[in-house]
Each structure stands twice: as structure tokens, then as C-alpha cells.
Symmetry: C2
Subunit: 422 residues, 2 copies
């Protein structure tokens, strides 16, 4: 007979990935299987929890088919937030309120699926629990397409984004050869500070594709003049030139390349300038100065939501870290994040482990300089060996009427009283 | 014993699709199976043929696995061109030259996979053959993501592009709900004059997705002020608004909406202004005037090369029209294009037939006005019933090392003497 455990609550935070819901499925399934009384989902993370917006997941994930659909659904099923808790000593009230709500719901286990900022939430909540004698356990579940979390070998979400980027880079390279006409294509890849995603375009270099001609990561200062020189040289030798550039590349003066464009500027609700236009700026410059046909292709939001092509390694690991978080919390752990520990590249073997969340929160893992070549325009074999195992195999979408089927929570835009929120 | 037939040549022309190579596979396989002596492929269409650039396909498509890979390879395996033949009476020399080359190669059957302009080539070449007593037979194989060929129910290439657009629209809609924050997303879809692709975004409206909120096709004059008013109204009611707009929408003065942007302008080698920036322009305007977070997402070239998610109906029909072209030519037909004739929507039944290429070339099929709603901001049920059967079922890519495998011709950028061309 399985032991009965207390109530569980789980939330999702930060930018979504194609497999963030697979981690949610892992938390839910393992918690139910291991005897959790209730498994609640906070809507829009800690921000929604503060407004007592949550859902009893058992009412919505009804069977194993729902689990499979949930795993394959992009975006955060529970909604997400970008909400950073204040320091405990600056604002105890918010913590008191959170714990009051958690206690009212008789929560014993708290799981948060997210990146750096979300691990900061786990850190602060577990600290507060310790300071105040709360028995609630807090475990972080790693997630981000950016792959910039420290301590873990990689983050769930990265492998699928990398597979998507590798696949479409290959398709675009093929497409660039269609006309008997010289052309240059600039691919703009996500990743403001870390080049993991941009580097993944190198995966397109394989038996049947030569891959991008150059790759520029934000880890290396971007020299526009040198870039133009290299393009002009490639253009002298090749019919079709394809280059991947991170949206976050900066010139020596510390400015983003996309800031060189005038005109259109997007500012999001958090006041962050949206980084977009790097490829456009460079493509236009090449068009004018080199005088050939150019294309700018932004890989855009699809990088974080293309669930129609996911890595099976990734979606499986996303599920596993969710399950491992529950197991560890039920075993008494708190204030930790589940990490992935790679045992071997080939054959690829990777296991889960735990790591102190205090050493993870707010830190950022960049691509090591030695994984970028000396001239700063490609990743090395070491990078490829690292990334390649993470994009292996597929998990086919479940298709209805010709399109990938999703499981979604219909009342995501309503408050706890069922009113439509704006 | 199968009858021996003469030599075949096949070319690809115009913009590529995700399944244009499936038609090439259909031509090749059927021609070989039905006894063709040689099956040659002209490189970069008629333009390459004029430079005697061609390849013996048997040397490159070696077995049935190659056929399967070819079907799944995006972009034109043989390379493509945008080359319009002059009128016969204006320049007989070019025709004399083409026929001289064809005769030298002992070609009896000529197949051209393409859209409007390519059918013009078939028309002119078959006319010239008739006028000059040439026995060579010319048959057109329809292809275009734009679906703007007349006479045929639809064009191979459209279904896969529509499936891709439907799928990613659904994913982006899901993604738009991730934060508890109002936002407007503008999707920019290909199709300069015809709204078939933009309309396909409506396929995302299904059991588990409400679909885009509005859809604007180039068939209807675009009123920027009215658009802004509608957006503001939707914004008052909905958290996340997603709108699909054709790159080709024009205001009442006949100008493209993207021409309202200043700054960046791409001109391709044919002097065509590249239409891009419609979504960006509208998103920026909404950001400024409505004051919410906005995103502009260009569906870009992936629409014509996303072979990682194709419609099985489409890729199968693409193969069939290739095969049918060979059968008809071998049976003596010339100056025709293979068309698809729909027998029934549900169950979907479609057969191939032949149509006089003179009535097809240079014509353009737009979305009928009655398939767009009165207010001009969505497609009707009739459009959906038409498009839905075309995106059904999948043909999974053959994956190696985590990425879709392609079959490609390595010497596509070389001339007939093996020299690298620029």
C-alpha cells in the first residue's frame, strides 16, 4: 500500500520552453503515484499564488492520454510569471502572505519549474521556511531554453530548442542554394547573454549539410567591420553564405548590434528593450556594401514553443527532473534544485542529482571561451560533442485534424472567482 | 517486358516548396519504372539547360531509400530559376538553342515542375515544338506554396505550407497566454497577391485552440485605421490577441502596408522589393497607440522549406502529379499541365487530370471574395472546408543524428565542366 503524502503545489515561472509542461507532467504523475493527497497548480507562478489563483490538477489531467498531451503542449500550462521576490528582511509581509496561503491549502511540498530567477524564489522561500520553522519543502525544477543555469550539465528545454534551431538552419541552408544566384542569409537566434542557442546552429553541419559558414555568440565582442570583411571574403568564394548571429551580440562599446538600427523599437511591459533587428541590420548593410541578395531570418518565439519538433532526450529528461524533484522532496529534501549530471557523452548517459539552490540562483552559465574558436566565429568540436546528444530522437506530436494536439487550461485568463482578467 | 521509352528531362522552376522534390521523385520513379532510357535533370531549370547544365539522375538517386530521402528534402534538388522565355517571334534563337540541346540529348519527354511562370515555359516550348514538327512532349507539373494556379483544385506545396502555418500559429497562440499580461502578436504570412497561405492560419481554430482573432488577406483592401480600431476593441476584451496578416496587404492607395515603414529596404536581384516589415510596422504602431506589449513574428522562408513538418496528403499528391505527368506524356500528351480534381471534401477524394497549359500560364487564382467574411477580417467555413483536407496526416522525416536527413546534389554550384560558379 502506498504511503499517503500531504498536498503538493507546483508552479511554472520565466520564459516557456517546448517541454516545460513535460516537467509539470513529471511532477504531477510522480506526486500522484507516490500518494500525494492533492496536486495543485499555481496559475502564473508565485504572482498568481499571491492572488490565490490555483487549480486542482486532478480535475484537469484525467488520464494517461492527458499526461501525454500535456508533455507535448508548448507554453506553460499553468501560465508563467516574471516575478522576483524581495529580500526577506525588506518585505516579510509578502512571505507571511505566501505561507499563509500555503498553510491554508495544507501544502507540504512546493515545486517551481524555472530558470535563474525562479531558483531565487526557491532559495528565498526555503530560507524563510527554515527561519520560521515551516515544514514545507521547496525544490526547484530546472528549465530554460537558454541553458544558462549553473551546476546542471544542461537545462531541460535547451535540447528541443537546439533541435529546432539545427533543423531549420539545415532547411534554410538548403533553401539558400535554390537559385543560381549569390546570396547571404543572416539567422538571428535567441540568447541575450549566453550563446548556447546560437551555437546549436552548428549542429546543422553534418554528413548532408555543411552547416552555417560563421556563428557569432554574445560571449565574444562583435566587430562589425571585421564581420563585413569576412562576409565579403566568403562572398567571393561561395554562392550561398549562411551566418548565425545571436540577438545579444555587442560591439566593443557595449552596445547591442541591434541598437545600431534606428527606427523601430519595442519595449516590453517590464521596460526591457526587446532585442530584435540584429539580422535585419546586418543583412541590410551587406546588401548595400557587398551588393548581393540578402535575407534576414529571425528564429523568433518559435524557438521556445516549437513543440512540433522536440528532442526525445530533452522531453524525457524534462519529465524525469519533475519526477526526481517529487521523490527528493518526499524523502525530506528542501532548498535544492534537481540537476542533470552527465556521466558520458558517447554513449550518452545522464542522471539526476540535487544541488544547493543557493549556489544556483541568479548565477549565469555562459559558453566557455574555449568552446568558441580563436577567431570567435564558430563553436568548437567540444561544443558539438556537448550539444549533440541533447537533440537525439523524437517524440512525435499527437495529431488531430492535421495539427499537433495540446492540453490547455481554459480558465488561465480568469481570476479565482471566475472573472475574466485583463 | 516493359516497353523502352526515350530519354526524359525534368526541371524545377520558381520558388521552392517543402515537397517540390517529391514531384521530382514521382517523375523519376515513374519514368524509370515505365522504361525511360535516361532521366536527366536540368540544373536551375531552363536557365541551366541553356548552359548545358544537367545531371543524369540515375547516378544520384540510387535506390528506394534515396527516393524516400528526396521526397523529404526541402528546396529544389536540381536548383531552380526565375527565368521567363521571350515570345517565340521575338527570339527564335533561344528556342533553336534549347531544342538543339534537347535533340543532342535525345530527349523525348520534358517535364517542368513549377508555378505560373513555369507553365508559360511549357506553353511556349510545346508551341514551338508544334510549329517546328518536333516530337518532344512537354508536360507541366504544378507546384507552389502560394496555391495561385488556376484550373487545379490546389497546388502541391500548399498543403504542407498550410500545415506548417496552422501548427506554428497554434503554438504561438499558446505562447501568447504564458504571462498574465496583455499582449498583441502580429503574424506575417507569405503571399503577395493571394491569401491562401494567410487564410491557412485559420486552421489553428480547432477543438483545443481558438485560432487567430483576425486574418487579413491581400484580396481585401487594408484599412489601417479600421485595423487599429478593431485591435483596440479586442484589446479591451482579451488578454492575448493574435492576428495574421499577409505580407501583401495594401491600403486603398495601392501601397503595400510594409511600404509605410521607412528605413530598411531589401531589393532582390530581380529588382523586386522584398515585402517584409508589415507585421513590424503594425506591431510598433499598436505598441505606441494602444500601449501594450506587442510582438511581430515573420513566418519567413520556413514556409517554403519546413520539410520537418509536411502534410502526407500534400507530399503524396506531389509525388502523384509527377508520376501522372510521365504517364500522360508517355501516352502522347503534350502542352498540358497535370491538375488535381477534387471529387469530395469529406471523405477527401482527389484525382489527377490534364489541362491545357495555355489556359493556365500567367493566370492567378485568388481566394474568392465569398470565402472571406463580409468585414474582411477572417476566412469563412468554406475556406476551412477547402483547406483542411490538404493538411491531413504526416510523413515523418527520416532522422539522422537528431536532424531531418536530406538528399542533395553536391555539385549544384558547379558548371558543366565542374568549375565552381558564383
Amino acid at each position: 500500500m502506498k504511503e499517503t503524502k500531504g498536498n503538493v503545489i507546483v508552479g511554472q515561472s520565466g520564459g516557456p520552453t517546448a517541454v516545460i509542461n513535460s516537467s509539470l507532467a513529471g511532477v504531477y504523475k510522480t506526486a500522484k503515484d507516490r500518494g500525494a493527497k492533492k496536486v495543485l497548480g499555481m496559475l502564473h507562478g508565485i504572482q498568481g499564488l499571491l492572488e490565490e489563483r490555483y487549480v486542482d490538477l486532478s480535475e484537469h489531467i484525467k488520464d494517461n492520454l492527458d499526461i501525454e498531451l500535456l508533455k507535448r503542449t508548448p507554453s506553460a500550462y499553468l501560465g508563467s510569471c516574471r516575478f522576483k521576490l524581495p529580500e526577506i528582511h525588506d518585505n516579510r509581509e509578502i512571505y507571511d502572505k505566501i505561507f499563509e496561503i500555503l498553510n491554508k491549502l495544507e501544502i507540504e511540498y512546493f515545486f517551481y519549474i524555472g530558470g535563474n530567477d525562479s531558483m531565487d524564489t526557491i532559495k528565498k522561500l526555503s530560507d524563510y521556511a527554515l527561519l520560521n520553522g515551516s515544514y514545507i519543502r521547496f525544490i526547484g525544477v530546472p528549465k530554460t531554453i537558454d541553458n544558462d543555469l549553473v551546476a546542471t550539465d544542461h537545462t531541460p528545454g535547451y535540447g528541443s530548442a537546439a533541435k529546432y534551431i539545427g533543423s531549420i538552419t539545415k532547411e534554410v541552408i538548403r533553401d539558400g542554394l535554390v537559385y543560381d544566384q549569390q546570396n547571404v542569409t543572416i539567422l538571428e537566434v535567441m540568447g541575450r547573454n549566453a550563446g548556447w542557442l546560437t551555437g546549436a546552429s552548428a549542429l546543422a553541419r553534418c554528413e548532408d549539410c555543411e552547416g552555417p559558414d560563421m556563428i557569432f555568440l554574445p560571449e565574444v565582442t562583435f566587430d562589425v567591420d571585421l564581420f563585413m570583411k569576412k562576409i565579403a571574403e566568403l562572398h567571393k568564394k561561395k554562392k550561398s553564405v549562411v551566418v548565425a548571429v545571436s540577438e545579444g551580440v555587442k560591439t566593443a562599446d557595449g552596445r547591442y548590434v541591434c541598437e545600431q538600427t534606428d527606427g523601430i523599437e519595442f519595449v516590453d511591459a517590464f521596460g526591457h528593450r526587446q532585442l530584435t533587428g540584429t539580422a535585419r541590420y546586418l543583412a541590410e548593410k551587406i546588401n548595400k556594401e557587398v551588393g548581393c541578395k540578402t535575407r534576414a531570418i529571425e528564429f523568433n518565439s518559435l524557438q521556445r514553443c516549437a513543440s512540433h519538433i522536440v528532442s526525445r532526450v530533452d522531453i524525457t529528461e524534462a519529465y524525469q527532473v519533475g519526477g526526481a524533484a517529487v521523490k527528493e522532496a518526499f524523502d525530506g529534501e528542501t532548498g535544492k534544485m534537481v540537476i542533470l549530471k552527465r556521466i558520458s557523452d558517447d554513449p550518452y548517459i545522464c542522471v539526476t542529482d540535487l544541488y544547493d539552490v543557493h549556489k544556483i540562483a541568479n548565477a549565469e552559465k555562459k559558453v566557455p571561451r574555449e568552446w568558441i574558436n580563436k577567431t570567435g566565429d564558430y563553436v568548437t568540436e567540444a561544443f558539438i560533442n556537448y550539444a549533440k546528444p541533447l537533440i537525439q530522437a523524437e517524440l512525435t506530436p499527437i495529431m488531430t485534424e492535421g495539427l499537433p494536439r495540446h492540453l490547455y487550461y481554459t480558465d488561465i485568463t480568469k481570476n479565482k472567482d471566475g472573472q475574466q482578467l485583463l
